[in-house]
Amino acid sequence: MNFRIVKDKLIANVMLILSISSVSFVFLIGIGLYLRAAPLFEEHTLLSLFRGSNWAPSKNQFGFYPFIMGTLSVTLIAIVVALPLCLLTAIYLTEYAKPGIRKVMLPLMNILAGIPPVIYGVWGIFFVVPIVREYIAPQFMEYSSGYTVLTGGVVLAVMIFPILVSIVSEVLSTIPKELKDASLSLGATKWETIKKVVVKRARPGIVAAMVLAVSRAFGETIAVLMVCGNVPVAPTSVFDGGYPLPALIANNFGEMMSIPLYDSALMFAALLLFVIIFLFNLISRIILNRIEHKYSS
């Protein structure tokens, strides 16, 4: 009798400890990265690291500006390309498609999510890079290698497509039919109803889906690294190459470690990525709360 109660309490406590320790990994990683990056701060100010655009480790020049811009632009392009397409796809699947089509499409979408990133990278090199080089870039400029932030963004957009579509479809399908009927019975067309009522009501869910997708996009390494050129210069147009932070770490870690501070600089890159994702999640959480607070029911 007594033993059962002890067991009950024990299990509750064990689970508490496990949850705390898993959450504390976030902080441990953050602190760990900071400590490893710390030597860099002895010779460079934070501001110069952020704003410097020269990357020459052997000359003790560590400017992270190009990498920060590389990361932000590739991610921004990805979400700008993916979001409208995903919204329309999800709306089609939940509101217009016949059940048969829906049953085929959603599993296919999930297969897309399961393809390893390196395959997307190869696809990007053989498919997206030539298209950008031969057809898109020539419309705007004389020459582009095709290895650009646009290419990286497009490949990334395809990679985050399934996760966005499946979450947004999920959210749209929770909108009560009666709410749509209310709008329809006022004489609104289906499209008006979707645009003004369904999407509006689903906005918190759409933002949440976007947050997940963008968080994934920030960290995506190998596929982006293969197609976006990896030049340590901040991109000034979508047809410039870029060098996102994850690619910087993956390309250089373990090599040329004899260069002083190189190791710390890469750790600082990781820390930066960590902070960017952390801030992004924080900001979107605040936005999400605002929206939910305004029109939740």
Partner: protein
């Protein structure tokens, strides 16, 4: 005004997923009065109501045959335009579903969709409808606040105001008070009685006492067929059919 009653149903049959939900429905709903459709759960009364404004269109596997004439226009004719038909009717569902926007925008939603842009026109529509539904004094200071902060009874009146704002001729109510507290129920019932001077009102209800309180006519539906239709007192007090008598007495439900 047309000579004929506004809503006339002829030989209406509805199948959903192969089930024969409504069988040979023929009825003319009297104008400017309250008609209640009563009957046990699952008898098809809500389906009947929904055929009046084609809300079954979006349900999968539905076949409708026969005709529903609204204003002498067959709404199931191929050339009928659904938004135009629905505009003629305000629908009040079981629970209030305010649109995800402000109180003002809820009422202005319909008129805006149908092309009213002028702000002062919209202002006066909103004010009039909110006054007609007795909501104006309660919400006039927070017109631009979110509609879902209102109490559920207020929300239901807002939904009614929203429906009336498109100037319908008909009000359809699908158990519109079933989620409400007694006081709000009373308010909504009073509104229906007051509004019948201007509108033709069709309600679905499973509360017999409510049907007795507010309706002028009663339609008793059982297993997808109209068993009896007539003035309230006649149907409830002196039913002609044995089935109606049993239902009214509470032997079947």
């Amino acid at each position: 005004m047309t000579q004929h009653p506004l809503i006339r149903v002829k030989d209406l049959n509805v199948h959903i997923d192969g089930h024969h939900i409504l069988k040979n429905i023929n009825i003319s709903i009297p104008d400017k009065s309250v008609t209640s459709i009563i009957g046990p759960s699952g008898c098809g009364k809500t389906t009947l109501l929904k055929t009046f404004n084609r809300l079954l269109d979006d349900t999968a596997n539905v076949t409708v045959s026969g005709s529903v004439l609204v204003d002498d226009e067959d709404i199931y004719a191929p050339e009928a335009e659904v938004t135009h038909i629905r505009k003629k009717m305000g629908l009040l569902s079981q629970r209030p579903y305010p649109l995800p926007m402000s109180i003002y925008d809820n009422v202005a939603y319909g008129p805006r969709i149908h092309g009213t842009r002028d702000k002062s026109t919209l202002d006066s529509i909103v004010e009039k409808q909110l006054k007609d539904t007795g909501l104006w004094d309660e919400v006039k200071d927070r017109l631009h606040g979110p509609a879902n902060r209102l109490s559920i009874g207020q929300q239901q009146r807002l939904c009614l105001a929203r429906g009336l704002a498109v100037k319908p001729e008909i009000i359809l109510g699908d158990e519109s008070t079933s989620a409400l507290d007694p006081v709000s129920t009373h308010t909504i019932e009073d509104l229906f009685v007051r509004l019948k001077a201007q509108y033709t009102i069709v309600l679905v209800t499973h509360i017999l006492r409510q049907a007795r309180r507010i309706s002028d006519y009663i339609v008793f539906v059982y297993m997808g067929e109209i068993v009896e239709f007539g003035p309230t007192d006649e149907v409830l007090l002196h039913p002609k059919e044995e089935l109606t008598r049993q239902y009214v007495k509470g032997f079947i439900s």
